[in-house]
Symmetry: C2
Subunit: 316 residues, 2 copies
Amino acid sequence: MSPILEDSSNGGLPERDSYAKNGFVHIKNPHLDLLPEDILYHFDLGTKTHDLPSMFGDVKFVCVGGSPNRMRAFALFIHQELGLEGDSNNVADICAGTDRYSMFKVGPVLSISHGMGIPSISIMLHELIKLLHHAKCRDVTIIRIGTSGGIGIEPGTVVITDVAVDSFFRPQFEQVVLDKVVVRKTELHKELAEDLLQCSKEIASFPTIIGHTMCTYDFYEGQGRLDGALCSFSKEEKFEYLQRAFSSGVRNIEMESTVFAAMCHLCGLKAAVVCVTLLNRLEGDQISESHETLTEYQKRPQQLIAEYIKKQLNLS
Amino acid sequence: MSPILEDSSNGGLPERDSYAKNGFVHIKNPHLDLLPEDILYHFDLGTKTHDLPSMFGDVKFVCVGGSPNRMRAFALFIHQELGLEGDSNNVADICAGTDRYSMFKVGPVLSISHGMGIPSISIMLHELIKLLHHAKCRDVTIIRIGTSGGIGIEPGTVVITDVAVDSFFRPQFEQVVLDKVVVRKTELHKELAEDLLQCSKEIASFPTIIGHTMCTYDFYEGQGRLDGALCSFSKEEKFEYLQRAFSSGVRNIEMESTVFAAMCHLCGLKAAVVCVTLLNRLEGDQISESHETLTEYQKRPQQLIAEYIKKQLNLS
C-alpha cells in the first residue's frame, strides 16, 4: 500500500468561521464548474433536467439514515410535527426514478436514505453536496439518524457522536484517492452535539449521551461478532477488543460515521450523528428484541431531531 | 495500523476438490452451532421462525446484484426463461419484512439485492452463506450480475471477472478482524468463467470478455472521477491511473467484487462476477447514455446467466 499522507486539502479547509461567513456548501473540485451538465446519477436528478434551486433552494436541514422506509417515516413524522399543510400521504419519493436511494422533502427538511456502509453513504454524500451547491442552499445542518450496537450502555440509549473513530480507535478516515491513501479528520460539530443533548434533556423520555462512535467496514468480523459465516477469534478475544473500545471512549458501533464526518467537515456542513443502540454488545451479538421494541427504539433519534428542528424554527 | 497478516484460516481452506466431495457450503465459525437460534437480521429470517430447509433446500443458483428492482426483474425473467408454472407476478419478496435487501425465489434460482459497496454486500453474504448452511443446500453456484465502469472497452461490453483486484491492482481483499488486518485471496472460479464465456459466444448478441475487475471503496475519488464533490487530482493524473489499471489487466471497475470473491472462496462456493460496463472511463466520468440504452445494457448479464442456468438444467 502507498504511504499514508496528510490530507493536502487541509490547507484550504473551510473553517467554521468561513462557513459562517456565507453559509454556502464548499465544493472542493475545480473541475465541476467546467461540466456543461451535472448528472446526479444515483439520485436520477441533473442540472439540465431539473430546476434544482427551485426544488431545493429552501432546504435548511438534511436528515439521512440507512433504511428507505425509515426515512419515509421520518418525513411523514416531520410533516406532522412542523404542522405543514397538505396531506402527508402525498409526500413523494423525489428519487423514484432509481432504487439506489429514496429522498423526501417536507418544508425545509430533506430526508434521504443512504443504504449500509461507507461506500454507499459516500456516493450519496457526493451527490447530495453537489445538489446543495447547485441549488445554492445556505446554512444547512445535516444529521445522520441511525441504528447501532451499543458498548456498555442500556439498549435504546441514543448516542450523539463527538468524534467518529475507525476500527483501531483512531479519529480519522482513510480515503483512497486514485492509489494514494489520504487521512481525513472525523470530528463532528461540537455545538450542534451539545444543542442536541440539551434537546434530549427537555424531552427526557429516553437516555441520551455524548460519546465516540466506532465505524467499521463490516458488521460481523469487523465488529467482533461471533455469529457470522466466518469467525476466527474466541469469545475472550472479542470481549477484550470491545472492552478496549469502551476504555477508549467508544459507546456505539455503526458503519457510516467516519466518512460522513470527514466529508461534511471538508465541505463546511454543520453535521451530527445521532444513533440509537439496538443491543449491548457486551451482552450478545444477535438483535433479538421484539419488532415493537426495535421500532420504538428507532423512533428515538427521529423524536430528538424533530424537537431540535422545531426549536430552530421557533415552533416548539 | 496493525501489520498485515496472512490469512491464518487458509490452512483449513476448502479446496475445490473438497467442495466437490460433499457440495455443502463451508461455514468457518465454530461458535455458530452453539447458538440456540440464528436470526438473519437483515433478511428478517431466522432458524426458529422459518423452516429454512423447506424454503431454500432446492436452491442451486444464487444471483446477486445491487439494485432491488433489477433483482426482481431478473427473477421474473428467469421464471419466464425456465418456463416455470404459475403467475410470475406472484413472485414475492421473501425479505418483505425489511427494506435492507430484497430476495426472490424462482425454482432453483434465488435472486437477491445487495446494495452498493463492500460493507453492504458483505452483510448480505454472511447471512446468505448461513442461510444456505441452515437450509442444507448443496452444489450451489453464485453469480454477481452488476453494472460497472469499463476501461478501454466499448460501453455495453460484458466483463466476466477472472480475478478481482483492489485500488492498488493487488489480487487481494483486506478484511479487518477485530483490529487485525487479514489478507484474503480474490480469485474467482476459472471453469465457471470459461463456461460463461462459452455461453456468451452462443448468444453472440453483445461483446463479452474475461478480464480483471477493480473493486474500490468509493465511486468518485477512488475511481478517479473528476465530477465528485471532492477532487484533488488533475485530468492527467486520472488518465495516468486508469491507464496503469488497464496495463495491469483491469477492464472494469465496480465496488463489491473483492469481498465477494474472498468470502465465496473461503466458504467453498463456485462464484463468478459478470458485470456490464455502462461507459468507457477513458472517455468520461458521467453516465449519460439514455435510460433505454442503460436498461438494455443491464439486461445483458441477465441474458447470459439465464442461458447458463438453462444449459445446466438441460433446458436450452
